[in-house]
Symmetry: D2
C-alpha cells in the first residue's frame, strides 16, 4: 500500500478484515509493505495499521516480486505514475478515486493496465454499500420499470461552511486539484453511471463562496483546525451544481457542496423509474427506500428497507444478523473482497480504470461547462 | 349542541362542514341552537361558531320539537343527565367521550338509548382518522394475519411537565373526574378495542408526579396559564401505565402521560400480527406504517403509507387530491358524516353508547388494579 | 368568486371559515355570488360550497356594486381580462396563480391594479403554511446567518408517471399553457423568492418524457381517468430542471416533475445559510427542520419542529392546541385572513400582483433558457 | 477466549481491532488461545478469527500463566464455573451477559471476583453505543432536568413470529434458560439501570404465544432453519411485558418480544425528564433524539443528533470523520477498549459483575411477578 493517511487507515482495515469476514475468498491477504515519504510516520502507521514492512520509496514496492497487489491511496497527483509502473510490473492495481488528475492521465493509466493485462479497480467504495448494491440489483431486475426518468443526487457536507475555517491544503488547487468537484461530486457521478447509465450532456456551475480564509498557523487539519490572522486565497470550488441528460433520456440533477450546515456526509439520491422509485441517504446507509406503483393501491408508500438481512441482501452474509447495522469502513471490506476474488481469478470487476476514466470525462465536461457557461456533450 | 368550549369549537366546525365536503349525505344539517350556562359567552360562541339560536337551559333544547340531534360537549359530570333526557325525548344523541363519570352512569345511559330506540354515538373521533380507519380495514381483511400478538400504545403530552405549571381545573378531581386516565388513556383504550378486540384483564399503576402546584391567580387556562405563590393539591393522576391481555390472547401495553417533554399529542400504537405490523403516530396522522412478512424478502420493510388517496383510502374522497393532507378537525367531520347517515337511516354506527360503557369498565378496572395492586378481570 | 372547480372548492371553504377561526378580523366575509359558465354546475356548486347567488357572466359580478372582492379561480388564460376589469371597477382582487399567461399580460394586470389603487394578491397559498411562514421569520431574524448559500427545491408528483395515463386537458398546451412549469415549478420559484431573494440568472431544461398518450374517451379527469385506444400528442412539459443564481449569490437548484413515483405533492426545499439550515416537505407540512451551528456541539442536529404551537407559531393561534395538525385547506384560510385584513385596511399584502409578475419573468427566462440552451439573465 | 459462536465472532473482532483504533491504550492485546468443545470447529474458528492457540479444555486456559484475561462467551449455564475459576487464578474476567443462570450463581461470581480482587466486567456492549454513552453524559450533566418521569423501552425482534419456524435450541428452557427474558429483556433492564437508576418494584407478564413448533430436522439454526413434521414443546417465553417503578420515582414500562414483524433488533427507549426527553432506536444506532424544553419556544422539537463527531461524541475519536457511521461490532471494540484500560490500571469499570448480579435480581423479580400475578419488590 502506497500512502497512509485517512484512506490508508480505511484500506488497511479492509485488508486486515477481508479474510476474517469473507472466509471463503479464493486467496488470503498478507499485508506486506506500507510506503510513505516520512520514515517515522510510516513506521508508526505500519505498527498501528498492521503492516509487516515499511519503505519510503514506492518503486521498491512496485518492484518487489513477492508482492501481487499495489494499493494506491496517495494524493491524486501521484496516482498515474505509480499505477502505470505497477501495471508494467505486472501487479494488480487498486487505486483510490479520483483515478487521475485529468482525462489524459487517466487514459494513460487505462492503456497501461490494458497493455499489461493486469486486474485493476478504482476504489469507489460506495458502490458496495449493501443498500446501493441492492438498488443496482433491483434496477437490473426491472423493479423500477423499463425506463428511468430522474436521477437526483446530492453530496453535501458542512465542514467549511464557517468562513473562519482556515485555508487547509484541500482548499488549494495546486495540491488538491479541485474542491467539491473531484472530491465528492465524483462519487455521485460514479453512482449515477453505475445505477442509471452513461451521461450524454451536462451543464453546470461552480462557485467559491468564501474566497479568502485565514492561513493555518500549524500543521493541523480537519474540523478542529485553527487559522491565524493572515488571509490567503481559496483556489478550489466550494460547490458545484449541474443538470444533464443520460443517454437513456433520464434527467440528471446533481449538487456537491461543503456549505450545507447539518449535512455531514450526506450522499443522497432519488431515482424515479416508470414503475417505482428508490431513495438513499448515506447517513442512514443501512436503509434503502423503495416505492412500487405495483403494490396494492391502499398500501402504496415508500418502504423503508433495513438492508441487513444476510439471507437476501448483498454482502450481508459476511456480517451480522438482521437488524445489526454495519458502518462506513465495511464498504471497503466488501469492495476488497470482490477485488481479492478478481485478482485470484485474473478478471477485473467494476469499477475498473475504464470507469475511472469515464468519470474523469464527466468531471471535465462539467468544469468546462461551468467556464463556458454552456452545455457540453460527452 | 350543549357546551361551547374546545370541543364546542371542533363540533361546530364539523356540523358546518359536513354537508360541504360530504355532499351526498342523506340529510342536511341545520345548526339550530347552542346552549351554555353563561349568556354572553354563549351569544358570542353562537356568532363565531355559526349557530342560529342560543339558550342557557339545556332542557329547552332537549324539549324543542324542531331539533333532531342533541350533541353533548359539556363537562363529563353532566353527560348522563342530558343524554338520558334527550333519549327520552326521542332525540338522536352524540356524546363526547368519556361517556360518563363511571360505569353506573354509563349503564343508565345505555339503558335509556335502548329503551328509547334512538340513534346514539360516543364521539371517539380518532376512530375516523383515515389512517386508523385504514388500519381497521387492513386488519379485517387479514393483512396482519389471523392472530394479533401485541397492541402497544401510548398517549403522551407534555403540557404539565413543568412543575411550575399552575393548578388548572383539569388537575382537580372534583371537576375533571380524573387526569390522564379518563382524558387520554380512554382514547387509546377505545382504539385498542376497535382494532384488536375486547380486553380480558388488566394490571396498572397511576401516579401524580407533581403533587402540589401554584394556585392559578386568574381564570386563565392552558399552556400559557400562570400561577401565583400559594400552592394547592393536584388531585388527579399525572400518568397511568398498564399491561393486560385481550380476550384473543394479544398483549396490551398502554401508557398515558402528560409528562413527556416534546410529545404534544402523541397518540402512537404498534400492532403486531402473525403476518405483519402496523404503526401509527397522531402527530403524523396522515400516515400509516405497514410491514408485511409476505413481501419479497429483499424488499421487506415498513411502508410509509401517505393516507390521502381518495380513490382507495377511507373518507379521503371528501377532501383533497393525494398528497394534500388533512388535519385534526377533519376527524370530527368524518365522524359526523357517518353519524348523520346513521340518524337519517335510524341505525346507530360504532362507537355506540355500548362502546362507551365498555370503555368505562376498562377504565374502572385499571383504576381498581392500581389501587389494589393486583390484576383485575373484566 | 369566478370559477368553481378544485380551486373553487378550496377558496369557498376559506371564505366560509375565515371569520370562524379568525374572529378578530376587521371585516366579516359574505359569500355573495359564484360565477361559472355552466348554469347547472354553478347552481350545484353554489349550494354545496355555500354561495348565495349564481351567475354565468363574470362581468355581472365585477359590476355588482354590493361586491367588494373579486376572487379569480378560473383557468389561467382568463385571469388578465377579469382582473383588469375588476380593478377598473375598484374591487379588491385575489387571483389564483400563475398570475397570467405570460409577462405581457401580467404587466397589464399590475398596471391596472396600480392605476386603480386596489388591494391585490396572487394566491400563492404555500407562503402561509405555518412552517413556511416560520421559516421566513427565522431567516429574517438571522437564525440562518447573514448569508444564504443554497436554495434547493423540488416539487414532485407522480400522477402521470404511468405512460398509459390519458391525455387530459392539463397535458394540452392550448388549454393548460404549460405543464409542470407553470403549474408547480411556479410554486417553488415563488417560495424561493419569498425566502431567499430575487433571482439573477437561470439555466434550465424541460422535457416531455411521454410524448403520446391515449385520448380520453370521456369527460373524466384526474387519477382515475381512463384513456381509449387512439393516441394524441402531449404538448406540455413533463418535467423541468434548472440551476441558477440569486442576486445575493446563493445557488438555486430546482426541479418540478410529474414523474416521481411515490411523490404525491412533494414540495421540498432545503436552505443552507452561514449559521444553519432549514428543511421542509409539504407532505409533512406541519413540520420544519432546523439545524443550528450555534447549538452546543454535542447536541447539534436537525430539530424537527412540530409547527402547531399557537403561542409562538404563525397562524396557529386560530386553530387547535399544540400537536393537533392542520391540513391543506388551512393554508387558504390563513391567506384569506391576511387578505381580508388588507382589504379592510386598504393596503395590499405579499404576494402582490407585482410578485406574480416577477414569477412570470422567472418562468419565462427558464423556458427561454431551455429553448436556447444557454443561461438567461433576469 | 472460551466459546466461538456468534459472540465469539464479535469478541474476536473486538480483540483484533481494539489496539488498531485505540492506539493509545496502555496495553496491547495478544490473542493467545481460543477454547471450544469441538476440536475441528475450534481449529477453524482460530484460523478465521485470528487466534494463535486452541484447546478444548477451558481449565487449561484458566491455568495458563501467560494469559491475563479470560473472555467468556459460552452458553449461559457455564459462565459461573469458568468465571469463578478464572478469578481464583487471578485473571481479569470479561463475561458475556446474562452473567449467570440465576441470582445464586451471580452472587457466587461476585464473591469470587471480590475475594480475588480481579478486574471484572459483564459485556453489556450496548452501554457503549456512542449514542447511549452520550445519553448517559447528558443525563449526568442535567440536560433532562433534575428528575426523570418515564423510562419506556422495548426490545423487539421478529425471527420467530412465523409459527412454522422450527424448535431451535433457543426455544428450549433446558438449554437457553429463558426466551426473550434473559436474552433481550436483560439488555433493556441494564440500559434502564445505567441511564435512570435502580429499580424498586416490578409487575410483569410472560407468554409463550406459539406453544408447539416443528422439531428441527437437522443441526441448522437461525432464520433459514427448517423444521420437519413432528412437533415439540416451546418451553421458553416468547414475550415479556412489565411495568415498574425506579427508586427515584420514575415509571418503568418495558417489553421484550420476538413476535413484532418488521422489528429486527429494535432496541428503543424514551426517557422523559423534567427538562427534556431522549429517544433512541438501535436500528439507527448512530442517532440520538433530544428534546429540550429550554430551547427557544418557536424552535422546540426533537433534535436528531448524528452521533459521529469525534470531537465531542464518546468513542468516535477512534473511528471516522463526522457523518461516517459505525456499526454493531464497534460497540464491542469500544467496550474492550475500556476493559483493556481497566485491566492495565487494575480497576474495574462499569458494568461490573455487581451490575450483572443486580440485573439477575430484576429478571428474577419479573419472572416471580409473572408467576404470582402480583407486584414484587426488589
Amino acid at each position: 500500500m502506497i500512502g497512509y493517511n485517512f484512506m490508508g487507515k480505511a484500506h488497511s482495515n479492509a485488508w486486515r478484515q477481508v479474510n476474517r469476514f469473507f472466509p471463503d475468498l479464493p486467496a488470503t491477504v498478507e499485508m506486506a509493505t506500507i510506503c510513505g515519504r516520512n520514515p517515522s510516520a510510516v513506521e508508526k502507521a505500519a505498527s498501528v495499521l498492521g503492516w509487516k514492512n515499511t519503505t519510503t520509496d514506492w518503486r521498491k514496492v512496485v518492484e518487489d516480486p513477492s508482492i501481487d497487489i499495489i494499493d494506491i491511496t496517495t494524493p491524486n497527483d501521484t496516482h498515474a505514475e505509480i499505477a502505470i509502473a505497477a501495471a508494467k510490473a505486472g501487479k494488480a492495481v487498486l487505486c483510490e478515486k479520483p483515478l487521475a488528475k485529468g482525462v489524459a492521465e487517466a487514459e494513460a493509466m487505462v492503456a497501461a493496465v490494458k497493455a499489461a493485462g493486469v486486474v485493476n479497480m478504482v476504489c469507489h467504495n460506495y458502490r458496495r454499500i449493501p443498500a446501493v448494491a441492492l438498488a443496482k440489483q433491483m434496477i437490473e431486475k426491472g423493479e423500477l420499470g423499463d425506463r428511468i426518468f430522474h436521477y437526483r443526487a446530492r453530496y453535501a457536507q458542512d465542514w467549511i461552511a464557517d468562513p473562519k475555517f482556515p485555508l487547509v491544503w484541500r482548499l488549494k488547487k495546486e495540491i488538491a486539484g479541485s474542491g467539491t468537484h473531484g472530491d465528492i461530486n465524483a462519487h455521485i457521478i460514479d453512482l449515477g453511471r453505475y445505477l442509471v447509465g452513461e451521461i450524454d450532456e451536462v451543464c453546470g456551475m461552480m462557485e467559491t463562496f468564501v474566497k479568502e480564509r485565514p492561513i493555518q498557523d500549524e500543521a493541523g487539519e480537519g474540523l478542529g483546525a485553527k487559522g491565524g490572522q493572515k488571509m490567503g486565497q481559496v483556489t478550489v470550488d466550494d460547490a458545484v451544481s449541474w443538470i444533464g441528460r443520460f443517454k437513456n433520456g433520464a434527467f440528471a440533477n446533481l449538487e456537491a457542496t461543503r456549505f450545507a450546515h447539518g449535512r455531514k456526509n450526506h450522499i443522497t439520491f432519488e431515482i424515479n423509474g416508470s414503475k417505482g422509485s428508490l431513495v438513499f441517504d448515506f447517513e442512514d446507509m443501512n436503509r434503502l427506500k423503495f416505492f412500487s406503483s405495483e403494490a396494492p393501491a391502499h398500501r402504496q408508500g415508500f418502504t423503508d428497507i433495513l438492508v441487513t438481512d444476510g439471507g437476501v441482501h448483498p454482502y450481508l452474509k459476511a456480517w451480522w444478523p438482521g437488524g445489526h447495522i454495519i458502518g462506513y469502513e465495511h464498504t471497503f471490506v466488501n469492495t476488497f473482497a470482490d477485488f481479492v476474488t478478481a485478482v485470484a481469478e485474473g478478471k477485473s470487476v467494476q469499477p475498473t480504470f475504464e470507469d475511472g476514466l469515464i468519470n474523469e470525462k464527466v468531471l471535465d465536461a462539467i468544469e468546462e461547462s461551468s467556464k463556458s457557461r454552456s452545455w457540453v456533450k460527452l
